[in-house]
C-alpha cells in the first residue's frame, strides 16, 4: 500500500464545522470562496470529502451559480449590467470598450491581477442606466469615453502594491498521510 499526501485545510474545516447542516453546502462554498477568492478543484474535492457528498454534486452547485468562481479573480470585479434598461442605453458599447481597454474577454482576469470582467443581469439600478460596478462602487450614467478614466482611478490606487504575486489569504495546508 502506498501512502499519499492528503491535504488538510484548517480554515475550511472551521467553516464546515460552523455550517455543516442539511442545505448548508451553498453557505459553506460562499464562505470558503470569500477566503480564497475562488473555488479551485482541490478545494471542491476537499469540501465534498468532508461533507460526504458526491463531488459531481458539489461541482454541479459551484458551476450553476454565477456567484461562484472556479478561477482566481482579480482584486476588482467589474460588473457590466446587461439588463434591459442598461442594454437599451448602450451597455454593449461600454462592455466592448472595457474589453478593448483591458485586453480581456468576459470572465477573464487581467494579467496584473487587478480586474476581472463580468457581464451581469439587471442589478436593480435602472435609474442610473447604463451602469457598471467596480468592486463595491457603482458608476452610473456613463458613456464609453469615460471608461479609461474610471479604470485608471483603480490602477492608481494600487500603484505601489504588487498584486500579481500577493496571495489574498495564506492557505494553511497540512499534509496528512492516507493509505491509498
Amino acid at each position: 500500500m502506498q501512502l499519499k499526501e492528503k491535504p488538510v485545510y484548517k480554515e475550511i474545516d472551521a467553516v464546515i464545522e460552523k455550517y455543516n447542516k442539511p442545505g448548508g453546502l451553498i453557505r459553506i462554498l460562499q464562505k470558503v470562496q470569500d477566503m480564497y477568492g475562488y473555488l479551485s478543484e482541490d478545494v471542491q474535492i476537499y469540501i465534498a470529502d468532508r461533507l460526504k457528498l458526491p463531488i459531481s454534486e458539489v461541482n454541479g452547485v459551484v458551476t450553476f451559480y454565477s456567484l461562484f468562481s472556479t478561477k482566481p479573480k482579480g482584486k476588482y470585479t467589474i460588473g457590466v449590467c446587461l439588463g434591459t434598461a442598461c442594454y437599451v442605453k448602450g451597455a454593449n458599447d461600454i462592455l466592448k470598450k472595457i474589453k478593448d481597454e483591458l485586453k480581456i474577454n468576459e470572465d477573464e482576469t487581467t494579467e496584473d491581477g487587478l480586474f476581472t470582467l463580468r457581464a451581469t443581469r439587471c442589478i436593480g439600478a435602472c435609474g442610473l442606466a447604463p451602469v457598471i460596478t467596480v468592486g463595491d462602487d457603482v458608476h452610473g450614467r456613463i458613456n464609453p469615453g469615460e471608461v479609461p478614466k474610471i479604470l485608471s482611478k483603480y490602477r492608481e490606487k494600487d500603484v505601489d502594491t504588487n498584486i500579481k504575486n500577493k496571495d489574498k489569504v495564506s492557505c494553511f495546508r497540512v499534509a496528512e498521510y492516507i493509505k491509498e
Partner: protein
C-alpha cells in the same frame, strides 16, 4: 398506501387507475404510447424533455404526462393539433443543437431521438441552434462521451446515482451551457466511474457508447501471422439473438459459434469453462476461509465493475474479496500458457479476444495486474453489441446458421458455468461444488438447484446447508443494492459468502448487452433480464454436467498443468490483487 381508484378518460376512452398514477402510464393501459425521451419508469421521472406533453381539460398549459399524477376524474387529450405542434417544437429544439450525423452514428436505427423525430413526422427544422463542438472524451478503454449528442435527459445520471449509487454524473453549469457530466467535466477514465456501462444502456442517443475494438479485431483476423482465439461469456449465447430480431431469452449457442468461425477466429471457446475453473478456485478459497484461514465473508470477484466499486467506495473491505481473477482473464492466462504449449504455438502470435456482456471487462483487460511476463491475458474485449455489428458487417445470415460446437480442449462446460451470467449464479455454482468437496464428492447429494438464490430481487439472503456446516450467504446485483449488504457487514452482521454483480440482473443486464431501447422498448425493463436469466437456467437444467468439479476438461487442466486449486501455478496465473483507490483524493491532480 392508498389504493383509491380514480376514473378518467384519455382521448374519450374510459380508464380506471390507482390514484397517483401518471397520465403517461395510464395512457399505456388504453394502448396509447405517449412519446417521451427522458422518462425511465421509477428511475427518472422528471419531466425534462417536454416531449410527453398532453392537454388536460380545464388546465390552461400543456402538461408533461410523465409527472402528472392523476388524483381526480380528468379528461386528457393526447393527440390534439396543439399537442402535436408542441411536441414537434420540443423535439425540433433538441434536434437543432444535436449533432445529427445519423448515417455514421453507432446508434443509427436504434436511437430513441431518431425514432421520436420520425414518429412525430418532423421533416424540416425551422430553427438552427449553435453547435457545441465539444471534444469527444475517450481517454479510457471502456466508454466514450460525446456531449454533442447529449439531450440532457439525465437518464445516465439517474441510473448512476439511483441504481448504482456511484454518482459520477450531475448537471454542470446552466441554461444552454448545461452538460450532464462528471465533476470538472473529466474523462470517465479519471473519475470514480466503475465502468459498468449502465449509463450506455440508459442513453437514448449515442452520447454514451462503448469504446469499440472492432477495427483492432478485424486487423488481427486479417493478419496471417496471428492466431486469433475467441471466448464468449456465458450470457452472450442468450442475448446475441436479440440483435438479429430473435425473442429475448433465445438460446443461440450453436449459431454464435458458427458465426465466430465464419468471421475467421481460429478457435472458439466458452468462457463457461473458465467459470468452472473459477468455481474450483473460489470454492476452495471458501472452504479455506471457513476453516479459519482468511477473512469472512468471502466476496466474489468475477465482476470487474463491482471490484472497482469496492476499490473506490469500500477499500476497507478489499481483504474480503476473493483473489480469483474473473473467468475471462483466467482463460486468457491459460490460452497463452497451457494451450499455447499444448498446441505448439508461440504465445506472442496468439491474439486473445473475449466477447463480453460488459464495458467493465474492457477496463479490466487493461489493468496492469492482468498479465504476466509482458503478456496481456486478454488482448481485446468486444461487447455483445460489437459482435453483432461484426456479424452484420460480414453479411452473415445469423438466423439461418447451422449450429456448431465449441472447440476442444476447452469445449466442455457445466451448467454451473452457464449460470454465472445471472445474479446468484456464481454463489449457486460455488455452493454446489463446495458441498460436494466438503462431503467427499457425494454425487447422490441431491443438492443442485438452489431456488432461493435465484430471481431478480435486489438483495437476497439465504442459509445454505453444506452438510457439516450451515453458511449464510447474500447476493446483490446493482452496486446500489450492494451497499445495503456491505453496510450491514460494516455494522457487524455476519455472513460467510457474498456474491455481488455490478449490473442489475448480473451479466444478462450488462452494459455491453443489446440495447432494446428505441421504438419498442423505451425503458429499461425487468422482463428481458428475466427472460435472459431463465434461458441460462434452462441451459443449466439441460446440461449433463451440473457441477464445476465434474468437468473433465477442468480436471485435465489440473492434472496436466495447474496442479491443484490454490496451488503455486494457480496463484501465479489465476489470482490477482486489488488496489484501494479512494473516494475523492484520487481525483486530485
Amino acid at each position: 398506501m392508498s389504493e383509491e381508484i380514480v376514473q378518467l378518460t384519455i382521448d374519450d376512452v374510459e380508464v380506471e387507475v390507482e390514484k397517483g398514477t401518471s397520465i403517461l402510464e395510464a395512457a399505456l393501459k388504453v394502448g396509447i404510447e405517449i412519446p417521451s425521451l427522458c422518462y425511465l419508469k421509477e428511475i427518472n421521472e422528471i419531466g425534462a424533455c417536454r416531449v410527453c406533453l398532453v392537454e388536460v381539460e380545464g388546465v390552461k398549459a400543456l402538461q408533461a404526462s410523465c409527472v402528472y399524477p392523476i388524483t381526480q376524474p380528468i379528461k386528457v387529450y393526447t393527440s390534439t393539433e396543439r399537442v402535436r405542434k408542441a411536441r414537434k417544437r420540443a423535439v425540433e429544439l433538441l434536434l437543432s443543437e444535436h449533432d445529427r450525423e445519423c448515417t455514421v452514428c453507432i446508434r443509427n436505427l436504434n436511437c430513441e431521438l431518431q425514432n421520436v423525430a420520425d414518429n412525430l413526422g418532423i421533416r424540416n427544422l425551422r430553427v438552427t441552434g449553435e453547435s457545441k463542438n465539444y471534444p469527444i472524451q475517450m481517454d479510457n478503454p471502456f466508454i466514450m462521451r460525446d456531449y454533442n449528442k447529449c439531450i440532457s435527459c439525465r437518464r445516465c445520471e439517474a441510473i448512476c446515482s439511483k441504481i448504482q449509487e456511484v454518482h459520477v454524473y450531475s448537471a454542470q453549469r446552466r441554461g444552454l451551457n448545461t452538460v450532464i457530466a462528471p465533476a470538472f467535466m473529466r474523462d470517465l477514465g479519471s473519475t470514480n466511474c466503475i465502468t459498468c456501462g449502465q449509463c450506455v444502456i440508459a442513453c437514448p442517443t449515442a452520447s454514451l457508447v462503448e469504446k469499440e475494438a472492432i477495427e483492432d479485431v478485424w486487423a488481427a483476423l486479417e493478419d496471417k501471422d496471428k492466431y486469433v482465439v475467441v471466448q464468449t461469456a456465458p450470457s452472450i449465447q442468450v442475448t446475441l439473438g436479440e440483435i438479429f430480431g430473435m425473442e429475448t431469452g433465445t438460446i443461440v449457442t450453436g449459431k454464435m459459434v458458427a458465426a465466430l468461425r465464419r468471421l475467421g477466429f481460429k478457435k472458439v471457446f466458452p468462457t463457461d469453462l473458465s467459470a468452472d475453473l473459477t468455481i474450483m478456485e473460489e470454492a476452495h478459497e471458501l472452504i479455506e476461509r471457513l476453516q479459519g484461514h482468511g477473512k469472512l465473508p468471502l466476496m466474489s470477484s468475477c465482476c470487474p465493475a463491482w471490484v472497482k466499486f469496492a476499490e473506490h467506495f469500500y477499500p476497507q473491505l478489499l481483504e474480503h474479496l476473493s483473489s480469483c481473477k474473473s473467468p475471462h482473464e483466467m482463460f486468457g492466462a491459460l490460452i497463452k500458457t497451457y494451450y499455447a504449449k499444448k498446441e505448439g504455438l508461440d504465445p506472442k502470435k496468439i491474439v486473445s479476444v473475449a466477447v463480453m456482456p460488459c464495458t467493465a471487462k474492457k477496463y479490466e483487460a487493461s489493468r496492469p495486474e492482468m498479465g504476466w511476463d509482458g503478456y496481456k491475458d486478454i488482448d481485446y474485449v468486444i461487447t455483445t453489441r460489437e459482435l453483432g455489428r461484426m456479424i452484420r458487417q460480414a453479411g452473415i445470415h445469423f438466423r439461418n446458421l447451422a449450429d456448431e460446437p465449441f472447440d476442444m480442449p476447452f469445449g466442455v462446460s457445466s451448467g454451473a458455468g452457464a449460470i454465472f451470467g445471472a445474479t446468484g449464479g456464481v454463489i449457486e455454482a460455488a455452493v454446489r461444488s463446495a458441498y460436494a468437496i466438503l462431503n467427499n464428492r457425494n454425487k447422490e447429494m441431491g443438492l443442485i438447484d438452489f431456488e432461493e438464490l435465484r430471481g431478480q430481487s435486489g438483495v437476497k439472503e439465504a442459509m445454505v446447508d453444506l452438510g457439516k456446516k450451515k453458511i449464510k450467504v447474500a447476493i446483490a446485483h446493482g452496486t446500489g443494492n450492494a451497499r445495503i449488504i456491505l453496510d450491514r457487514i460494516l455494522n457487524g452482521e455476519h455472513y460467510d459468502y457474498i456474491e455481488i454483480m455490478g449490473c442489475p440482473g448480473g451479466c444478462v443486464g450488462g452494459g455491453g448487452q443489446p440495447i432494446l431501447g428505441g421504438r419498442d422498448h423505451k425503458r429499461i425493463s425487468l422482463d428481458y433480464r428475466h427472460n435472459r436469466a431463465d434461458a441460462l437456467y434452462k441451459i443449466d437444467m439441460h446440461s449433463q454436467l451440473r457441477q464445476s468439479h465434474d468437468n473433465p476438461d477442468v480436471r485435465k487442466l489440473y492434472e496436466e498443468f495447474l496442479g491443484e486449486p490454490l496451488g503455486e501455478m494457480s496463484k501465479k496465473l489465476l489470482h490477482t490483487t486489488y488496489t484501494p483507490r479512494g473516494l475523492y483524493f484520487n481525483l486530485l491532480k
